[in-house]
């Protein structure tokens, strides 16, 4: 299938866009849905009695229903945020600060994106709870032995990324969640890199909190989702205060709105939710099975081609079943930023740097990588362009490399 034709940026520009792990391009249907909302239905939701405002409210709340159904949650459990980072901060502030004390432990995987790591450092500093890490093995995977060694009866929060945005490792989150629960811990699952590629069922996973960004799954920028189990969200204090999240406001105190509004202060991003709904429609129309099949072929092809270049280091598991659509690599002796600039000159967009995962890169013993990340609109031709550009980059540096 040719999905590229649905994506105006990819039609208009002759590029191999291999940075979907950072943000995806948007299909015409998402762009149209956002445009239609602003052209026909825009008003401040929840605040007006006139029909236009009611239309905006409906657009927003119907979007919430769609998102809830998409991840198999109930609507009160779906909080709209501006991105995954805000969703994860919400958990750290509203759950972490109130529920942890100095004899407790927070356990994170070393693969966490800074957004599920730095907030917990803050919680640790404020509450005195100890911060511990689960490390990966030589195959860039997290062993259950390591999980069981680190999660103890003292552990109150476990932060785990479903798929690493650096190594592409798919963590066995179901097993980790079950184990954490057996120790009485609450699990904060980051599905930012998995929900674009695979079905996420929060009930089946039984995670307590689940965070992701819309912009990595075809939706517009500026929209993210936090799922939280109702019994947890109900007991938590609000994260942000202000309009729309209240019930009665007196001079000296306030009672708060019920879920989910309690966690949604201020005028919300209706256009973003509308775009997210259209993104879900697009993904469902294609189907996760087809996305996975297509990406599997592409990634296998890319790994096969790149592995043949003996000057390349790949930072990924050799078990394809545990690896998603992200390939981190380096040309030995050449800095990733130089590689990315040369690739850019060939119309190949990859990210270079530490990918907001400095502790992971430090643990692996490097300071940056090039990262090619794939999505449904990528083609074998994109992979060929990547490989040709990598070969070109190596040739430019070859004669200067210290042997």
């Amino acid at each position: 299938m040719d999905y590229k034709k649905d994506f105006p940026v990819l039609v208009e520009r002759n590029i191999a866009y291999l940075d979907s792990g950072a943000t995806t391009q948007k299909p015409q249907s998402v762009i149209d849905a956002v445009e239609k909302y602003y052209k026909k239905h825009n008003a401040n939701p929840h605040r007006g009695a006139y029909s236009l405002s009611i239309e905006a409210t409906e657009a927003y709340e119907n979007g919430r229903d769609k998102i809830a159904k998409f991840i198999n949650a109930s609507r009160e459990e779906v909080i709209v945020t501006k991105n995954a980072s805000e969703a994860l901060n919400l958990v750290a502030y509203s759950y972490g600060l109130d529920n942890l004390k100095d004899t407790d432990e927070i356990v994170l995987s070393i693969m966490e994106h800074h957004s599920n790591l730095v907030p917990w450092q803050y919680v640790s500093r404020k509450t005195g709870a100890k911060l511990k890490y689960m490390y990966i093995n030589d195959n860039y995977e997290l062993d259950m032995d390591e999980v069981k060694a680190k999660i103890t009866d003292k552990t109150k929060v476990v932060g785990i990324v479903h798929i690493s945005n650096v190594t592409g490792t798919i963590n066995n989150v179901k097993e980790i969640i079950d184990y954490a629960h057996s120790k009485g811990a609450v699990v904060v699952l980051d599905v930012s890199q998995s929900i674009p590629h695979m079905k996420i069922d929060v009930k089946e996973l039984d995670a307590d909190f689940v965070a992701f960004s819309g912009h990595k799954m075809l939706a517009p920028l500026g929209i993210g989702i936090l799922f939280g189990k109702k019994e947890l969200l109900t007991k938590m204090t609000p994260f942000l205060y202000g309009g729309d999240m209240i019930e009665y406001v007196y001079e000296d105190h306030t009672t708060f709105a019920p879920l989910p509004s309690k966690f949604e202060a201020g005028t919300q991003n209706v256009g973003g939710v509308v775009g997210m709904s259209a993104a879900i429609d697009y993904i469902e129309a294609v189907g996760y099975e087809n996305i996975e099949k297509h990406e599997r072929e592409l990634v296998d092809y890319a790994v096969e081609k790149l592995s043949k270049l003996d000057y390349i280091t790949l930072y990924m598991t050799n078990n394809p079943k545990h690896h998603s659509a992200v390939i981190s690599f380096n040309i030995k002796g050449v800095h990733p930023h130089d590689v990315a600039s040369i690739l850019d000159n060939e119309g190949v967009c990859v990210r270079s740097g530490n990918h907001c995962a400095q502790p992971l890169l430090r643990y692996i013993g490097i300071d940056s990588t090039c990262r090619a990340s794939f999505y449904l609109y990528n083609t074998k031709e994109d992979v060929d362009r990547l490989v040709a550009a990598v070969e070109k980059a190596y040739k430019m540096f070859e004669k200067y490399l210290k042997k």
Binding site: H337, D338, S341, D344, N345, N354, D367, M396, Y400
Partner: protein, 148 residues
């Protein structure tokens, strides 16, 4: 950029991959670390003075070819210059990168550092080229303020 090889030219490649300026001095008067948190580049610059003349310089650290070579070339250019001359050269280099100074004659005092002129065509890499020069600017500022 039309011709990337123009940017990754002989001077830049040689200086980035095999620089004789990448070492430690046996003693220095000033030393400062320049870093770019976005990309992780870190460059430590050592300066040894003799009166108001820059007698020797060296650097250590890691980063991309642009930041490494820019540091090494800067050392070649600034060594043997007075502090006042060095400040002028740094200002000229920064002006060239920002395309504020284009006068060929004025740019001549940059010697080999003129090789970085086209970096302004690669906006994502400008900060790499400037890292060492900004660090050196800070060192000279500290020197003027009389602190060691």
């Amino acid at each position: 950029m039309d011709n990337l090889e123009e940017m990754y030219n002989e001077i830049i490649m040689e200086h980035s991959m095999n620089s004789y300026n990448k070492k430690k001095l046996s003693s220095h008067d000033f030393c400062d670390l320049g870093h770019n948190p976005n990309c992780g580049d870190e460059i430590e610059i050592e300066v040894k003075l003799n009166g108001d003349v820059i007698e020797d310089m060296a650097f250590s650290g890691h980063g991309c070819a642009i930041s490494q070579s820019s540091t090494s070339v800067m050392i070649d250019v600034l060594k043997g210059k007075t502090v006042k001359e060095a400040k002028e050269i740094i200002a000229t280099f920064i002006g060239m990168i920002k395309r504020e100074i284009t006068d060929e004659e004025e740019l001549e005092k940059l010697e080999d550092a003129i090789a970085f002129k086209n970096i302004s065509n690669m906006p994502a890499r400008v900060k790499c080229a400037l890292l060492a020069w900004h660090t050196m600017e800070d060192i000279l500022k500290k020197l003027e303020e009389g602190e060691k």
